[in-house]
């Protein structure tokens, strides 16, 4: 698998997209740090960008890469290699190269700013690790969409719908249901609904880390109470791990049953 991983990473690093992605984060986080100078504020601004952009890029780039590397995949399928090795290798190559762009793009400005010696290092670390996790989750889902759909147009459509759903529609439905059922106690429901969406979960985890949950009012207090406990933190980490693991497992399953 390492060899497949090596070649797909190499292939991706040769394309302009990886550099564009890197350059965007470099400029954006560098610019924000330069302009504001307050690390906490920059982390929050970056959080909003990462929570939207990482899933979007991972999903779109993921399907694109899957369809673009079909020829290579077909070539590999006739070789004495396990199917899951081929697809896991390609998926990891994609997720890792996107993550590397993200970590370097945000890391360089922050390190240059002196984050490593400041008290904010953990906030920064939470931000980065959530970005990386989201990249892994959504590129896995994108690969799964590619595997399940021979038709490129349909695959791209589904990928956009997937991203829209988790980044936008989900929150809308969530808020709507909160308003509709405001007569009832909703702590349990809102906790569950948040935990089930990886983007929302990441957002809450970063916000709580920043100790600004007071800004979120009553809900913030509920989350603080839940996620502040070992059980709560463990549960949310478990959910994120599940979100990362499930697509990997599903890729293996889909690859096993597919005709090429």
């Amino acid at each position: 698998m390492l060899k497949i991983l090596k070649y797909s990473t190499y292939d991706l690093l040769r394309s302009r997209w990886a550099y564009l992605y890197l350059a965007f984060f470099l400029l954006f986080s560098g610019g924000l740090l330069y302009l504001s100078g307050d690390v906490s504020k920059v982390v929050i601004s970056l959080m909003n960008v990462i929570l939207i952009l990482c899933p979007l890029i991972a999903t779109m780039f993921g399907v694109m890469y899957y369809y673009n590397s079909r020829e290579f995949t077909e070539l590999l399928l006739a070789q004495p290699i396990r199917r899951r090795t081929i697809f896991w290798g390609q998926y990891l190559g994609l997720a890792i190269s996107l993550s590397v762009s993200l970590v370097i793009g945000i890391g360089i400005p922050f390190v240059a700013y002196g984050i490593l010696h400041g008290p904010e290092i953990w906030n920064f670390f939470t931000l980065i690790s959530n970005g990386v996790l989201l990249t892994f989750i959504f590129s896995g889902l994108a690969f799964l969409i590619g595997l399940k759909n021979e038709n490129k147009i349909r695959g791209f459509g589904l990928a956009i719908v997937l991203w829209l759903f988790f980044a936008v529609v989900y929150d809308g439905l969530f808020l709507l249901s909160l308003i509709l059922f405001k007569e009832y106690p909703l702590e349990g429901f809102s906790l569950a609904a948040t935990v089930l969406n990886p983007i929302d979960l990441s957002r809450i985890m970063i916000l709580l880390k920043l100790d600004i949950s007071a800004l979120m009012g009553y809900t913030g207090a509920v989350f603080q109470k839940f996620l502040g406990t070992a059980l709560g933190m463990g549960l949310s980490l478990l959910t994120l791990a599940l979100w990362t693991g499930l697509p990997v497992w599903a890729i293996q399953r889909a690859a096993k049953q597919k005709d090429f």
Binding site: Y7, E74, L76, L77, A78, Q79, R83, K256, D259, F260
Partner: protein, 258 residues
């Protein structure tokens, strides 16, 4: 040894293979798998490589069922029908990559020489002509000295010089005691090279035997006529209202142009 046991495969409603029983036991022999377009040749070959998973039946290579296995592909050299490569890779990079992934000894240099590919090694695969791509395809497929050689339409796009090279290469493989399976639409190629013919029609084996046998059976001078005779007879016995004339014509014209 290769054995297909009652292989069935449908893509949606299209039943491509409908119970194929086939055994290849002899080494040092060239078998040609023939049949009109859509008769299931490529599906049969792809299922042997585990790329297509049959709905029914099992396939064994050297006595071992291949389902969910992968290491047996070390025994097989496979030439895919349509050479599809990553467009932005160079020829040399692609060869190096496959060698790196597969490992073991390879004879790519000998094949590069044979097909005269040296001037193209630094070219990107997307810029190559169809014939050159097919030569790269052949080099990739044959650079490992495996006991089973499967060639899906090896002649497509080749110029006469490369064609002669290919024939020579295939004869060499045969002499080295390999089991060679070829699909093609070029009947002269089959007459010249094949020891036996497996004729597929509508996902079933219609005929298996030597070139001479098929000719005497259908009282034809050449193989082309014999095959055309089979197809004509098949269509005549089929329900006339279902088998339109144009289908027959298209098959005939295809055989003539091939």
């Amino acid at each position: 040894m290769i054995e297909f046991k009652n292989i069935e495969k449908a893509f949606g409603k299209n039943e491509v293979l409908q119970g194929i029983d086939l055994r290849f036991t002899q080494t040092g022999r060239i078998s040609a798998v023939l049949g009109p377009n859509g008769s299931g040749k490529t599906t049969l070959i792809k299922s042997l490589l585990g790329m297509v998973l049959p709905d029914e039946g099992s396939i064994e290579v050297n006595g071992q069922p291949i389902r969910r296995e992968w290491a047996y592909r070390n025994q097989i050299d496979y030439l895919p029908q349509i050479a599809r490569f990553p467009e932005n890779l160079r020829v040399a990079e692609l060869l190096r990559m496959i060698k790196d992934i597969r490992g073991g000894a390879s004879r790519d240099e000998e094949l590069i020489e044979r097909f005269g590919l040296q001037p193209f090694l630094d070219k990107r695969l997307g810029t190559l002509s169809g014939g050159t791509k097919q030569k790269v395809n052949l080099t990739l497929a044959l650079m490992y000295d495996s006991p089973i050689v499967i060639l899906d339409e090896p002649t497509s796009g080749l110029d006469p010089v490369a064609m002669i090279q290919l024939k020579e290469l295939i004869r060499q493989e045969k002499e080295h005691g390999k089991m060679v399976l070829i699909t093609t639409h070029i009947m002269s190629f089959v007459e010249e090279m094949a020891d036996e013919i497996v004729f597929l029609l509508d996902g079933r084996i219609y005929f298996r035997g030597s070139v001479a046998e098929i000719k005497t059976q259908h009282q034809a001078e050449g193989l082309e006529e014999a095959i055309a005779g089979i197809l004509k007879g098949q269509l005549a016995t089929a329900n006339r209202s279902v088998a339109p004339k144009s289908a027959l014509q298209s098959i005939m014209s295809h055989l003539q142009t091939a």
